[in-house]
Every structure is written in structure tokens, then in C-alpha cells.
Subunit: 461 residues, 2 copies
């Protein structure tokens, strides 16, 4: 038989990686709960029709579809054969595949809200941390199975929700030790106002696409692209003025007001940001303050369904990783599923990238590297039975213990502890058994002491 | 568009259900960690060839296969069409499907150990809590996506591992409040000895299959079945004598020794159980004692790969749910993947059934029903800004809070708190704002007090 392997773009997570991931996910989950968000879990599989057509033509192609079972049953063969022709034709066929793996958490969330909106209490505050699957070409940092981590409030237009989400970012990032992160904020309404001022709303997409590339290609190339997209020199000059707005948040607000504050859309967008600034920067030490908030008028967040405030989180500048989260406000979550009138706002955390940032900055806490804390040596039948009893007492105090599985030479047991990075050994030989004592050995320092067996559960580990 | 729905046999888990499930899974995970087991996570998708042929012909049919992407590309169409003919013929074809959803946690674990055995430290103690997928016909309590929860030690033949697993069951069950559970134990070697004594080892399967049905069909029907399977009256009489062995554990051991203690296999099996009894029942209050251990010589655990001790956990008799876990020792985990010589022992927890038992016995702790603990009322812009600051202080002490999303009538905000079962409200109106106070209302008791804002973070919730 050939050597076993993993599907491309998928990963096993061994013990240390699971502990590191759980440290991140547990931190995020803890903050979500503290902010009154409730957990939701949806199945890995959705009906294909729930997913198709929601992610654009490119997205549709990247959905993993599940083959119907029992296609070899005689009654099903004819329609399956016919259905497969459709699939070869780039279409779908429920006689071949009617289920698929979820592609993100947003559409399943929308499906859930649409199915349960009569029972839910709005505003509905939910978080969801689950894997999703995409048939993307695997590359460094891009996987076919990866964890998404979303938090949304739906059924409310209040900006207090945006404030809450900004504070959630701040709380998570500082708990993870990423003090140098930046939360960039803008409003789609401001970009709309810019388009209105520079060529009309029909140019919004052109302008947003070009601006989105500013970081990558620089101002000159953006200007070239705008010209290629048919904007006039005057319009491009206005956009350039907008793109070169600089200074602190208040400077930027002032300059933006001059440029687009006279339009309805501009005024609304600036008011949204003002609301955030008032709540989040009342003084850097005030509770709820998020001094990492940066007004970034060049933030566009692609061409998706955002309609108001948009967010993006940048990793601390000491690592070259860039965006580790983002989100924004949308007008209509569930319209696609026949339930109109559910606006909301949500953000997500890029778990894999946050992992890489924390790894690069060596910010994982020491205890993620420790599994078992104490190894009880096994030195024979009577000794191991006594050791087992002692071990149970120690476990009762919350210390993670194991006993070596068989009586073996000291060397072998030490080597096992070393390989598994177990910091302490408890040794109970014939002599200790008679004396009611045990030897506690600190394997990191190489020191050891003999204590009474009764004292062991009170010995700190 | 048609109303959205879920694939058959799958479930959404809303907030309360997630909290209840996490209570169970967190309890189990906590015990696993305390016993020095390490977490492993494998992808949802495995290569089809990793899974096929491992679960018998019936099992193969229940594996969810994933359609290859890009089948509509011209270069792939011909071989895909050819491959689909094979699928209609009940065979597999990598040109149509090369990946599948995992069917259990054991084969992916074996694949992981085979792929990494050079790097792992043996004995390798791992636990794994993840969803698996089966295209079974959905019915009450049987789902197409469900969570498995496995714990194994591999690379060791020592019975101390069986002792550890038995104590893990005891620790989890008592932490969950299921004091009346029973851990049934037997050894496949004893069943082998019985077959040896009653008709030869070639009858082991017949005998095991029949015995396995004892609970369901009763002794008379088992005897009929044994006769139909060609056993003589004398043989059946011996089996009957074996099946009617009764009394406490020591009684059973004595009677079994009489019947099959003279065979090698019987002696070995009885010694295995003796080892467990010596370690686990040294006195009901001794550390590590598992007084719920019941020697059950009729336990067979189907026809799988077990070779030594087998376990089954029965729910407390006050609920009619039966088995909520089981497992046993196997000789060879990874031989199928080209790595021989890795014996092990493992058990699993039936999470969905444990959930049903705890629900039926009303043993979920009160706090799984509480999401947000405190709702801050929103009574206007100035009031809500002050409330927000207070809320952040309270969150800083670990209290789960939210603020109502908009200024609204008292009624509406109370109704929201009630629907969400939030136990406390903090009310901060214009008067409280001036006085530096706030009203804390206990929504369960209907009582309220006015306290200073400074005192709020020290007020217990």
C-alpha cells in the first residue's frame, strides 16, 4: 500500500499547535462572551442551493461539492448520468450533488437567521468559530480548510454596535499582547461622497478598486489606473488631494470635511466616524478607550456588500503580515433567503495570521508548551500501585500527571520525560515506599528533594 | 427563492445548545488533560484511499465523497466521464472524487501515527474531539454529522493504560453528576476461552454475535440462535452456564475461573480483569477507586478489532438510554498504513447520548442557561456614553455585559432582557447621571437598589 498522505491544502494539528490555537481561540471566545455575544454552530454541510450564487462566479467554482451517496443503485443511474453531463457543462445537478461544504460563516449565519427569525430576539448578537473549506490553489498561508472566527450584531442600525466591535478588537489584541496593532476605520459613505464629488456615483466602483491598490502599487499607478478608467484630470486631482490627506485622526477629519463634508453622504460618513472617535478616544486611559483607532480614508475593503463603517486590523509593524482582521456594516443579511429588513455589522479575526504574528513575536505564553506537568516513575508493581494512588491525589488538585506505562530503567523514563518536555518527575522506589516518602525532581533545574507522600499534593508544580 | 433548509441529518446548534455541549466537552477535555493526554486535530477531508476498505463494505457506502473541482475543464472531461461510469458501477474513480469526509477518528489517527511515527514519543497519549460524517439514514439520535470524542494510548501493551482509561471514565462521569453509571468490563480473551471450551475457536464469531444480543432477545432466543449456528446441546449448556454467571465481581471471577480458568486464554483474560479490580477497587474511597466497575462476562462489543480488555459505559438506570461509551484494546493500529507493531487501547464518549442523559436528569449547571449577565439600559446619548464606561469597568471584572443598542422605552428594554433571560439590569438615567449613581435591578427577584457608580464593579453578579 502506498504511504498515507494528507489532501493538499489541509493540515494535521499536533498537540503543541492545538494548544497554541486554543490559546488564541479561547482568548477571542472569552472576549466575545464578556461582550454578551452568543455562540452559534452550523453544520459543515449545507444544501448546495444555499451556497451557490452567493460568492460570485469565481467563488462558486471554489465550493467543495459532496457526491450523492448510492449513485450505483439502478434506479438512480439514469438521472445521475444525465446530471453528470450538466456538471461537465459547468452547471449543477442535484441528482449528482445536492450538498456542499460551507465556504464561509456568513451565508450559513444568514440561512440560520432566515430559518429562525421568528424565534430569535433582535438585535441578535452571535459569534461563530468554525472551519470553512475552499478549493483555492494552496500556497503559503492559504489552506483549503481553515478556521473562521466571526462576530456580528444583526437587527440593529445603531452605531453603538460598531463601537462594541472596535472595543472587542482592542480587548482581544491587547490580551494577546499585540499592543502595536492598528484598527483602521473608514465609511463606505465617505467613499460614496468622494465618487459623487469626482465623477458621479457610477464611478464608485472604479474609484474603490483603484484606491484599494494604493498600498500595493503607490499613488502614481493609482492615478494612471483612474485615468485609464476614464476619470478627468480635475477629478483625479481631487482624488489625489483626498488620498494624500494626512495627520492625526482630527487632522484627517478636518481635511475630509473640507473635501466631501458638503455632500449628504459625506456628512453621514463623517458623523459615523465621529461617533466612534467620541466613544473610543475620550482619553487614552478611559474605560473603553481604543487608542489604536486610526482613521484611514484610503480603506476600501474591496467591492463587497458593506454600506457604512468598515474596519481593518493591521498587525503590529514589527511583523510583515498586514491585515489580521476586518469587517463592516451591511444593510441586508437575509434578503437572499426571503427575509428582508435585517441590517447588521460584523467583523472577523484571521486566526491563521494571528497565529503567525504571535509566533513571530514569541508571544505565546509558556504553558502552551507544557502538556503533562509531572511524570510518575514506574519502578515495579508495588511501587507503581502506590505511585498511582499518589498521582490521583495530585490530579485531584488540578496537576496534569501521568505514570510511565511500565517498569523500566531510570534512563528510559528520564528520556521519555525529556522528549515530552515534562518539567517534573516524582520517583517512588522501594526505599521511599517503606519510608512513606517520594522524590520530586525538577527536570529543568536538575534539582531534587525528598518529601513525605502526604506533602506531595501541597507541593507546588 | 425556496425557503432555506438544512441537509437531512444535520443540525444547527443555537446558543443554549452550544453552551450545554461545551459544558460536556469541556469537562471531558479537562479530564483528558489532567491525565496527561495531548490534543490532536486532523482535517475533515482525507484522501479517499485512506478511508476506503477500512469500515467493511457497508461502511464504504456510507462515506461522503467530495466531487473533484474543475470537472468542466475541457482537459478533464473525458477521464471524468469514464470515471463516473465506474462510480455508477459501485467503484471509485480518482478522476471524479479523490477526497472524502472522515467517517471516524480512529483511521485518521492511525494515518497520523503512521505518517509521524518517527517524530512521536511512544507511548503516545492522544485525545481527539471532532465531528465525523456518515451517510446513514437519519433517525432519532442518529445524525449524519456528529461529534466523536476518543482517547487512546498507543505503543504500549501495559494494562496500566486500561486502568487509566477506566479512571478517566469515572472522573468524567462523576464530574458530570452521573454517579449511577456503570463501567462494564470483559476481555476478548475470556470470550475466546469460552469458544475454545464450547466448540472450538472457529465458533468465536458465532458465539460473540449471539451473546451480543442477550440484552435484546433474552437467553432462550440466544440458545435457539446458537443451535441454529450448529452448536451441540452440551456446548450450549456450557454457554448457558457461562451466561448465567451472577453475583458481585468476585463471585463472577470465581465462577468464570471454574469454567474457563484452565485454558491459557481464559487465564490471561481473567488476569487482565484481576489487574483492573486490584487497581480500581482497593476500597471505595481510595484515590483512583472506581466503584462503578462491573465485571460483565456477557459483554462482547460486536465483531471488531478488539483483542483484550473491552469496556462499555451504561447510563444511570434512571434513564433508558443504555450505552454512552465504550472501547478496548487492539493489537495493531497502523499496520494498514505500513507501520506494524503499534498496539494500543482506547475508549470513546458518546457525546450526543451523554447530552440526552444529562438533559433527562436535569443535571446541566444553572449557568449554561445564562449568556449575558447584565443589561445596561440605554436612555439617551449622554446616559448611554456614561453607561458604556461603567460597562467596560464591569467587563474588566469578568462580568458578561451588553448595552441596549438604542435609546428606547423601559418596556422594550425589559422585554429584551426577559426574552434573553438576562438576570440583571443596570439603569442609568438623567437623575443617576447627575448624582453619580446607578440602579441595579435583579430581574429574577424583581428587587432593585441604587448604588454609587464607583461601587458597581464591586457589586456581585
Amino acid at each position: 500500500m502506498s504511504k498515507p498522505s494528507l489532501p493538499r491544502g489541509t493540515r494535521d494539528f499536533g498537540p503543541e499547535v492545538v494548544r497554541k490555537r486554543n490559546y488564541i481561540l479561547g482568548t477571542i471566545r472569552g472576549v466575545f462572551e464578556l461582550y454578551g455575544f452568543q455562540p452559534l454552530e452550523t453544520p459543515a454541510m449545507e444544501n448546495l442551493e444555499t451556497l451557490m450564487g452567493k460568492y460570485g462566479e469565481e467563488g462558486d467554482k471554489l465550493i467543495f461539492k459532496i457526491l450523492n451517496n448510492g449513485l450505483d443503485e439502478p434506479a438512480k443511474q439514469a438521472s445521475a448520468r444525465e446530471g453528470f453531463d450538466k456538471i461537465l457543462d459547468g452547471k449543477n445537478s442535484t441528482s449528482v450533488t445536492e450538498k456542499a461544504l460551507k465556504y464561509d460563516l456568513t451565508i450559513p449565519f444568514a440561512r440560520y437567521v432566515a430559518m429562525n427569525h421568528g424565534q430569535l430576539t433582535f438585535p441578535f448578537r452571535r459569534y461563530q468559530i468554525q472551519p470553512v473549506w475552499r478549493a483555492d490553489k494552496p500556497s503559503k498561508g492559504r489552506y483549503r480548510e481553515f478556521t473562521q472566527c466571526d462576530v456580528d450584531v444583526v437587527g440593529s442600525k445603531s452605531l453603538i454596535n460598531e463601537v462594541e466591535l472596535a472595543v472587542i478588537y482592542h480587548s482581544v489584541m491587547t490580551r494577546l499582547g499585540l499592543y502595536g496593532y492598528e484598527l483602521r476605520v473608514n465609511s463606505r459613505k465617505i467613499l460614496g461622497a468622494l465618487a459623487e464629488v469626482c465623477g458621479g456615483l457610477d464611478k464608485l466602483t472604479d474609484i474603490a478598486v483603484a484606491i484599494d491598490k494604493l498600498d500595493k502599487i503607490g499613488l502614481d499607478k493609482v492615478k494612471e489606473e483612474l485615468a485609464a478608467r476614464g476619470l478627468t484630470e480635475t477629478q483625479i486631482a481631487s482624488i489625489e488631494k483626498y488620498l494624500t490627506i494626512a495627520g492625526d485622526n482630527e487632522d484627517k477629519m478636518r481635511q475630509a470635511t473640507e473635501l466631501i463634508g458638503h455632500t449628504d453622504s459625506g456628512r453621514q460618513g463623517l458623523n459615523e466616524i465621529r461617533f466612534l472617535l467620541d466613544h473610543l478616544m475620550p482619553g487614552k486611559n478611559a474605560p473603553g478607550a481604543s487608542p489604536n483607532l486610526v482613521v484611514d480614508l484610503t480603506l476600501a475593503r474591496g467591492l463587497n456588500y458593506y454600506t457604512g463603517i468598515i474596519f481593518e486590523v493591521k498587525a503590529p509593524p514589527s511583523v510583515q503580515i498586514g491585515s489580521i482582521g476586518g469587517g463592516g456594516r451591511y444593510d441586508d443579511l437575509t434578503g437572499l433567503f426571503g427575509v428582508p429588513g435585517v441590517p447588521g455589522v460584523g467583523v472577523s479575526f484571521g486566526v491563521d495570521r494571528i497565529y503567525d504574528v504571535i509566533e513571530a513575536l514569541q508571544l505565546f505564553p509558556g504553558d502552551v508548551y507544557t502538556g503533562t506537568q509531572v511524570l510518575f516513575f514506574n519502578l515495579g508493581a508495588d511501587e507503581s500501585r502506590a505511585a498511582f494512588t499518589l498521582m490521583q491525589q495530585l490530579r485531584g488538585t488540578g496537576v496534569r500527571c501521568e505514570i510511565y506505562h511500565e517498569a523500566a530503567k531510570f534512563d528510559k523514563q528520564f528520556r521519555y520525560a525529556e522528549k515530552k518536555q515534562i518539567p517534573y518527575a516524582v520517583i517512588l522506589g522501594a526505599q521511599e515506599l517503606t519510608q512513606g516518602t517520594c522524590v520530586v525532581k525538577d527536570l529543568v533545574k536538575g534539582e531534587q528533594i525528598t518529601i513525605s507522600q502526604e506533602a506531595l499534593p501541597r507541593h507546588g508544580f
